[in-house]
Structure formats: C-alpha cells, structure tokens
Point group: C2
Chain length 139, copies 2
Amino acid sequence: MSADACVFCNPSGETVVWSDARCRVLHVTDAGFVGFCRVVWNEHVTEFSDLDEADRNHVMKVVVAVERSLRSLLSPHKMNVASLGNQTPHLHWHVIPRYRDDSRYPDPIWAAPRREPAARALPGDFAAKLRNAIASAVA
Amino acid sequence: MSADACVFCNPSGETVVWSDARCRVLHVTDAGFVGFCRVVWNEHVTEFSDLDEADRNHVMKVVVAVERSLRSLLSPHKMNVASLGNQTPHLHWHVIPRYRDDSRYPDPIWAAPRREPAARALPGDFAAKLRNAIASAVA
C-alpha cells in the first residue's frame, strides 16, 4: 500500500486525543469496546521493527501512557495491546480495555462474538481526562 | 489467576529458543502459523504497564529482536505483535509472521478461518538460526 492510499496518511474523521511530532492517539468510538484507542505513528512505516530504538521507546512510552490512563479512568479487567496492520500496513498500536462482559471476553476482540455486550458508558469529559492523563505521563 | 495456576510460572513442554534473567523466547510449534514465537516475561506480572521503563524497553528490545530475526529468516508478508493475556494474565508478547496464504490473512489469527492454509516449512536449523539472530540483536 502506498502512502497515497493509506487512511493514516490521509486521515478523515479521526478523533485525535493527544499528539506530538511523532505520533498521535486516536479515540476509536466503538460502542462494543468503550475506551478503545489507537496510537498511530505519523510517518508511513510498516513494521514496529522498522523504527530505531529511540523511536520505538517513544511510541511505547505513549502506548503505556494510554494504557495506564485507560486503566485509571475505566478500571478494565484486562488491557490488550496489538500492532497488526494486515489491512492497513502503517504502524499503529491498538490499546483496548477489556471487560468480562464484553462481547468476546476472554477471546481477542477479533474472534467471533460470545454474547451481547453489556452496556457501558464513558465517564463525563472522558476525552479531556484522557488527554490530560497522557500528557502528564509522557511529559 | 495466581502464579500457582499459571502456565508461564509452571511451564511444561516449552520450546525455549533464547532467554536471559528477565524473559524468554518460546517457539510456538503451530503448523498453521509457522515461526510463531512468544516473548514471556519471567516474573508473574499482568500488564505491560506494570513494568517500569527499563524493563519495558528491555522486553520490547527482545520483541524487536525476534521480529527482525523472523523477518530475516522467513520473509513474511507482515508481522503481527500482540500482548493480550485474557486467558493467561502473565505478560507475554505474541510475535507472528503472517502470509497472504495463511488461514486468516488479512484478519488477525484469532478471527474465523478464511481458507485452508498453504503448506510452509521452516528452514533447516531454524531454532539455532533464530537463537543466534536474537542473541546478536539483543547483545
């Protein structure tokens, strides 16, 4: 896939929660997986191992900031983190709070559903709280 | 889950390719996903974000060493990396070479199969070559 055809190089309708010069954090508004975020590397790079050590440590620092912020704000039962990119080969990390009563638990979110997910609401001002928590953790 | 009941605290039948004091690399012998490896943190820790920065950078250095070694040895179409742990909440990273003709591509390996996977053999002395490549990369 060329950068021209890449949805992360040509974003449309992204909800950017936090960003710096190298990467950005998106809130994925998925009613079934509340709090789902993505950390997108701004440059069009395919694999995590295409980054040098300083950039890898930076993006993982942001991933961990998102993970810790989501744990603090949402108290999930487990966190899932994944960099797949088979459909969109532009480096991004999924950071997903998981709950025992979500549709796939304990399977990965990409497995077949096991149940109707429990309704779950985000705290008020979730995006602002998440942005502040990430900014504090990355600083 | 207590450490007593944890398969990574009480391993049985693991194929350890490489290890150091903090973590170990397992070769998962899965005929459908040839070259599949796991990087297991030795201590019973649940989440990636439970580690401090030095330990996180170390485990990701090993993950990247595995990813680069697998790319070099197997030339997959894509690499997938994930830390889920819903079933076994002891920190481990899946590092999975993906091919266009594997059973799920381009879906994650946990999705429903799309096709019978193409037969694929590992190079001779795969484990020894992988061990050497990881050792060189981590050194």
